[in-house]
Symmetry: D3
Subunit: 242 residues, 6 copies
Amino acid sequence: MKRSNGRKEDELRQLFLGPGFVKNALGSCFVKFGDTHVVCTATLDEKVPPFLRNTGSGWITAEYGMLPCSSSERIEREAVKGKQSGRTQEIQRLIGRALRTAVDLRLLGERQIKIDCDVIQADGGTRTASITGGYVALAQAVQQLLRRRRLDCNPIVRQIAAISCGIVDGAALLDLDYAEDSNADVDANFVMDSDLNIVEIQMTAEKNPFSKASLDKLLAFAEKGIKEIATAQQSLNLIGAK
Amino acid sequence: MKRSNGRKEDELRQLFLGPGFVKNALGSCFVKFGDTHVVCTATLDEKVPPFLRNTGSGWITAEYGMLPCSSSERIEREAVKGKQSGRTQEIQRLIGRALRTAVDLRLLGERQIKIDCDVIQADGGTRTASITGGYVALAQAVQQLLRRRRLDCNPIVRQIAAISCGIVDGAALLDLDYAEDSNADVDANFVMDSDLNIVEIQMTAEKNPFSKASLDKLLAFAEKGIKEIATAQQSLNLIGAK
Amino acid sequence: MKRSNGRKEDELRQLFLGPGFVKNALGSCFVKFGDTHVVCTATLDEKVPPFLRNTGSGWITAEYGMLPCSSSERIEREAVKGKQSGRTQEIQRLIGRALRTAVDLRLLGERQIKIDCDVIQADGGTRTASITGGYVALAQAVQQLLRRRRLDCNPIVRQIAAISCGIVDGAALLDLDYAEDSNADVDANFVMDSDLNIVEIQMTAEKNPFSKASLDKLLAFAEKGIKEIATAQQSLNLIGAK
Amino acid sequence: MKRSNGRKEDELRQLFLGPGFVKNALGSCFVKFGDTHVVCTATLDEKVPPFLRNTGSGWITAEYGMLPCSSSERIEREAVKGKQSGRTQEIQRLIGRALRTAVDLRLLGERQIKIDCDVIQADGGTRTASITGGYVALAQAVQQLLRRRRLDCNPIVRQIAAISCGIVDGAALLDLDYAEDSNADVDANFVMDSDLNIVEIQMTAEKNPFSKASLDKLLAFAEKGIKEIATAQQSLNLIGAK
Amino acid sequence: MKRSNGRKEDELRQLFLGPGFVKNALGSCFVKFGDTHVVCTATLDEKVPPFLRNTGSGWITAEYGMLPCSSSERIEREAVKGKQSGRTQEIQRLIGRALRTAVDLRLLGERQIKIDCDVIQADGGTRTASITGGYVALAQAVQQLLRRRRLDCNPIVRQIAAISCGIVDGAALLDLDYAEDSNADVDANFVMDSDLNIVEIQMTAEKNPFSKASLDKLLAFAEKGIKEIATAQQSLNLIGAK
Amino acid sequence: MKRSNGRKEDELRQLFLGPGFVKNALGSCFVKFGDTHVVCTATLDEKVPPFLRNTGSGWITAEYGMLPCSSSERIEREAVKGKQSGRTQEIQRLIGRALRTAVDLRLLGERQIKIDCDVIQADGGTRTASITGGYVALAQAVQQLLRRRRLDCNPIVRQIAAISCGIVDGAALLDLDYAEDSNADVDANFVMDSDLNIVEIQMTAEKNPFSKASLDKLLAFAEKGIKEIATAQQSLNLIGAK
C-alpha cells in the first residue's frame, strides 16, 4: 500500500504544535498531525472531585469533543443528543489517565487542571494528538501558575506523548491517517514518556487476532515516533519535567 | 468611556473572514471580529424536517456552541450537562431564522443545509459574528453544489450580515466587545441584508427602559456597520445573491 | 384582510384580567386576550440563584408552559419529552427579563419571585399575555408581602405590559390572533412601561425584510395598545409603581 | 375530627363538572371537588401504540400534570426536571387503565384517545377527580366523533367515576381533602362504574395495617359517593354508555 | 383451566428463600416462587432524604429492576433508555411503602436502609416476590446492625409478606404465573403482616368490572398464601418482629 | 505480598462456568472467578444496526451492568442516574469487540446477537469474566439456533477467553482480585483465542510507567491463564469453533 504524500512506513505526518492559541485559557495548544487538527486547552479549577477533598492531592481530568463538521460525514452534536457517546468517554478517560502520570498530584496541591480537547478537523489519530497537545497545554498552564506564584514548585515529573500505529495490508505503519485506520487489521495506541517508558497500550485486532511479533514490531515503530514528538514538544521551551 | 485600541464609537473591530477553514465541510468560514473567533461550517443533509416532506421546499437550520475555554471563565460542556442551555437555543434559532431569509427555499429543493457555528474565543458579539460567517459558509456551500451540479440554479436571493450595538454610559457604540457589553444599558442586535433592509431586531433594556430616539440612533450605527461587513463579504468573490 | 369580529387594525382583543385565580399562590392572574387564556402565578422563594448569594439583591425569574390541549394540534408534554423546547426557553427568558425591569432588585432583598405562566388556551400572543398577566401576579404578590410585613417597602418601580403587532397582507395590525400570526410578513413583540418607554423589541421578518417605516408604524400601534392594557392593569387597584 | 364546612363523614365536597372548557380540544371538562380543580381534555390521535398496529383495536391513554402553583408549596416543573416523577406516572397509568374499561376498544377502531389531566389547584383527590372529569371529556369527544361521522357507533360501554376514602383519627371519611389525607391512617381510591361494579381498588395503610372490616366500611362509603358522582355526570346529557 | 404442574387453585408455587446470597450486602435473599427468581439486598446509608433531616427518624426505600434477559422477550436496559419506566417506579414505590410498615422508623434512627430487588428470571409475581424477599434481606441487615452494635434495639415491629391472586377464566387462583397473569380478568396484589392484617391491596379489572364477592374470595386465598409464606420466612431463624 | 487462599502468582482463582442459568435466554452462563460472579446471557434480535442493513452481515453487541449491591460500597443504579457511566460503556464496547472476533458475521446472516453481562458480585476482573462467560452464552445460543434450524452452519470461527494480570508490589500476578487490583502499579487485560493469538491488550500504568520486560512477563502469565480457561470452556461440550 502506497501512503499518501509518499510517506515511509515509519514516518510521522507533518507535526505542528502551536501553544497559546486560545487567549482566554491558562494554557493552550493547536496541534496538527497532517489533516488532524485539535485545539487543546488547560484551565484551573480550585475544586477537586469529592474523593480527593481534604487529601492535599490534586487532579487532572480531560474532556474531548468533535465539532460536527470535523469529520467528512457530519457528526450529530453531543449537546443535542443529550449525552456523550461511549467512544467520547473512552477517549477522554484515556487522555486524563495519560496526563495524570505527567504530574505529581501532591505537588499540584488540592486543585484540578481540566484539559479540553476539541477536534476541528479529523483525519485519524485524534486521541493521540489530543494527548500530545494536551501535554503542551498542561505545561504552559503550569508555567503560568509558577509565574503568578499560584504554585511554588513544578509538579511536572514526566513528559508525555502518544502515537497510533497499525497493521494495514500486512504492513506495519506509524501514525495512521483515516483511510489507513479504516483498513487496519490491527489498531494500536501507545502513550509513553520521553524516556520511552510505557504509560498505556491499547491494541485491538480489528479482523484477525495477531501475534506477539506484531506487538513487538508496532512497539518499535511507536518508540521512533514518540522520540520525534517529544523533541518537538521540547523545542517549544515550555517548562520541562523536573 | 474610552474604547480599547482607540476605537471610535461607530467603528467596527478588525474583521477577518477566512473561507474554506475546515476541509471536510461543504462550506466553511473562520470569522474574527477582534478577539471573537468563530468557526462556521455548512453541510448538506438530503433529508428535510418532517413538516417539509413532499413539499418540494428545502430548509436552513443552525446549531451553535461554545468551546469550554472560549470564555474567560471555563463554560461547562453542554454535552456533559446533557442539554443545550436556553441561551444556546435562542442563538441558534436566531441564526437559522436569519439565514433562511437569504435563500429561496423552493429553489434549494427538498434538502437541508446545516450551519454549525462553534465559538473558539469569545469577546462579545458571537451571535452576530456567527450570522456573518454563517452566510459566507452558506454561500461557499451553494457554490460547491452548483459546481457539482447538485443544484441547477442559485437559490441565494439576499446577502445577510449582522452586528451588535449598544448604549454604554450614555454613549451609543457599534460592535461591543465583552467589557462594553457587560456594562451596556441597552443591548441590540441587528440582522440586515446588503441593501440595509431589516431582517431582525432584538433590542433589550438591561437596566432602564429606553426611548425611540435611542432606537433610531443605534439603527443608524448598525446600518454603517452592516455596509462595511457586506463589502468584506463581497470581496471574497463567492457566489452572490441573484 | 377582514379581522374576525370586525376588529379594527389598531384594536385590541377583549381583555380580561382576573387576579387571585389560584388560591395557593402568593399572587395570581387569569389573563385573557380573546381566546388566548393564560394562568399566571407568583411564588416566593427565599433562595436566590448562586450568582446573587450574599449580594443583598433579589431576583425575578419566569417559567412558561403550554397545556397539551391548549393548541388546536395537541402539543407533546415537555415533561414527557424530557426537556423544554428552545421556543419555551426563549419565551420564559423574555418574561423574566421584562418583569425584572419592573422591580428594584435591591429593595426586594435577597429573595426570588418566580412567575409561572401556563397557557390553557392558545390563539396567538401567549408571550405578551404572559408578561401582562405576570405583572399583575407579581404586583399582587408584592402587596401580600407588604401586608404580611415580609417586605418593608414597595420594590416595584415600573408598571410593565406587552403586546404583539405585525404586518399581514401589507397591513399593520395590533394584537394578532393565531390566524393572523401564521400569515404575517413581519412579527413584532413590544414590552413597554406605562409611560411608553421601551423595555424590549423583538421584530422579525418572516418572509421579506422590512423597512424602517414599518418599524415606526408598528411601534405607534404598540404604544396605543400598551396604553389601554396599562389602564386595565391599574383598574385592579393593586399596588402601583413607586 | 370536625370536617371543614361542617361536612358529614359520608358527604362529598361541592362537585362541579364544566364540559367544553377548552375550545381547542375535542372534549374537555373543568372538574372541581371543593378546592381541587382539574382541567381534563380529550384529543384524537389517528396512530395507536406499536403493539396495536394492524389489530383493528384502539387505545385510551392518559397524561397527568400539576401546575407548579397548584400546591401550597410550589412544585418544580417536571419539564424542567426533565422527567415525570414516579407519582405522576403511577397516577396517569391509573387514569388510563380506568378509562379504558369505559370503552370497547374494537369499536373505537385503530385510533387513540389521549386524556390530559392538568391540576390547576390541588386540595386532595386529584387522581379521582381526574378520572371523573376525564370520563366526561372522553364522552364529549366520542359525541363529537359521532357527530362528525368519524365514528359509526358509540364505543362507550360503561360510565366510570372515582372517589377517595380514608380512615382519619379512627373515623371513616368520604372524599378526603388535603388536610384529612395528610393525617389518614388508611388511604383508599375506588374506581367503579355507574352500576357500582368495581374497576380498581387501591388501599394503603399509611401507619398501621387495617382489617377487613375497614375495607368493607370504606367500600360502602365509596358506593354512596360514586352513585352521586355518576348522577352528576349523567345530568350533563352527554352520550351515555350503550 | 389446568394449572401447570397440576397446582391446585389455592396452592403456592415452590418457594425458596436463600438469605446471604450476595456477600457484599448487609442483608440479602435470593427468592424463588417457581420460575420467578429475584435477588433482594439491603444496604445501609447513613444519610436520610432531605425531609427527614434532623427529625431523628429513619427511612426504608426500595429500587427494582429487571435484567434484560429475565423476560422471554429481551427488555431494553433502563440504564440505556435513560430512565426507569412508569411500571418500575410504581413497583419500587410499592415495595418501599410495604417494607416501611415493618419498621418503627424512629427506632431505626436517622439512617436509611435501601432494598434493591433485581429480577433474574420473571414468571409472574415479581413485585410480591420482591416484597417477600426484601423483608428477609431487611431482617438480616437489622440482625447484622444489632450484632455490630450499630443499632441498640430491634426496630422491626411487623413481619411482612406479599402474594398475587387473580381470576382467570372465571376461577380464583393463588400465586399466578406469567401465563395465568396474561389471561386474568382480575389481577390483585396483597401485602399483609404475619397476623393477616392488611398493608396494601391493589386490585384491578383487566377486562370487566368485578363484584365484592370476587374481592372477598381473592382476599381469602391471599390469607392462605401469606400464612404459608410467613411460616417459610420464620423458619430462616432471622430476627423476628418485636 | 501473600495472596489470599495461598494462591500462587500465576494461579487462577476457582473458576465456575454454569451454562443455562437463565431459562428465558437463548444462551446463558453464570460465571464465577472466585468471588466475582456474573450472569451472561445471549439473545437473538432479527434487526441489525442501521449501518449493516442490506449487507447480509450480522452483528454481536454487548451490554454490561453491575447490580447496586455487587460492590462493597453500594453503586447508584444507572437507570436512576439516567445514563451509563464512561466505565460501563468502555467495558461493554470491549466485550462486544472481543466477541465479534469469535464469529464470521457473514455466516451469522443479517441478525444480531446481544450479550448481556450483569455483575451480581464484584471482586476484580468483572470485564474479563464477562468476556469468558459471554463466549459460553454465545456458543450456547448458536447451538440452539442450529438445533432450531434458524442457522444452517456454525458461524463461530474462534474460541475467545480473557483474563487480567498486573504488577503489585513489584510482583507479576495472574487474575487479580479487588484488593490486589486496588494496589496494582500496572493493570492489564488480555483477550486471546484458544490458540493464544491476541485479540486485545489493554495495559495501563496506574502509578509509574513500565518497561517492555513487564509487558512480556504479564503476557506470559496471561497465556497460562487463557489456556486453562479455554480448557474449562471446552469441557462444557458446547459447539466449538469451526
